[in-house]
Assembly symmetry: C2
Homo-oligomer: 125 residues x 2
DNA sequence: GTCATAACTTCGTAATTAATGAGTTATTCT
DNA sequence: AGAATAACTCATTAATTACGAAGTTATGAC
């Protein structure tokens, strides 16, 4: 994954928004593809690289690795490596991760009504 | 803005995720740049194209127009045109929009602690 | 009749993000 | 020795999203 151009308007606008409100930072994180599904997957007990990969059918290795790394960086999940054969690594939600998950569930309930009604409206015309 | 390639993996993965959970649809909408700020801006009373533009300093016309159109499409805001001179158009949050805004405020409180602690951790190393 | 303003739209390009595919390390099973 | 498995990494390419600048429509003021 290539690094960002620090002198672009695109970048400086993102910084501007993140400074305006940290929500923009969080949404930027959560909006990366597969991110919420990885989080929910771990919450539901799919706590290994391969089980997550199996559950999320179409995700590619590098994306899953990246999302796990980000979630760990933001302390939403924690990683534990067991020195077994073959190697085993387990991920679990942190308290912060669980807190986030709870808020997202509310957002999810909301989106069920909001997004579905939009879908129907879009179909009609 | 160019249209999507309907036969790409990129596209079919997005569809897959949106079918899995409507939250992915909502986050996809909210993650478009400036989207939450436009929503909050309207809530705070900046309900015209130009006042929003002034408040959001660096936003460009076409992006603001697009975000307003999307928010209206999803019935999060409503638009009223007054036949005055010069033309006046006003945007206001719908009930649904206000409901969303409330949930987002909770997410915002969360991100204040979560994202700020990450920032400090990142600075240390 | 030219200028100004509000609220947009359109087009081309730059920047970012996702996907594909091959390679890595360590270890055991055959 | 060769194949298999878990959990990754890296480079290249494809797709999407954001930006910049100019153009549009309607109306009234000068």
């Amino acid at each position: 994954m290539t690094s960002r151009k620090l002198n672009s308007t695109n970048y400086s606008n993102q910084v501007y928004l993140e400074e305006r409100c940290t929500l923009n930072k969080l949404i930027n994180l959560l909006s990366k593809r597969w991110m919420t599904e990885v989080l929910f997957g771990i919450e539901e007990g799919n706590n290994r690289f391969t089980t997550l990969k199996d559950e999320l059918e179409h995700i590619s290795d590098n994306i899953l690795a990246d999302r796990l790394k980000l979630l760990e960086e933001y302390k939403l999940i924690s990683k534990e490596s067991f020195s077994e054969i073959p190697a085993r690594v387990e991920y679990t939600l942190t308290d912060t991760g669980r807190e986030l998950s709870n808020i997202l569930e509310k957002l999810c309930d909301f989106s069920d009504t909001c997004m579905l009604s939009h879908q129907q409206a879009a179909k009609k015309y």
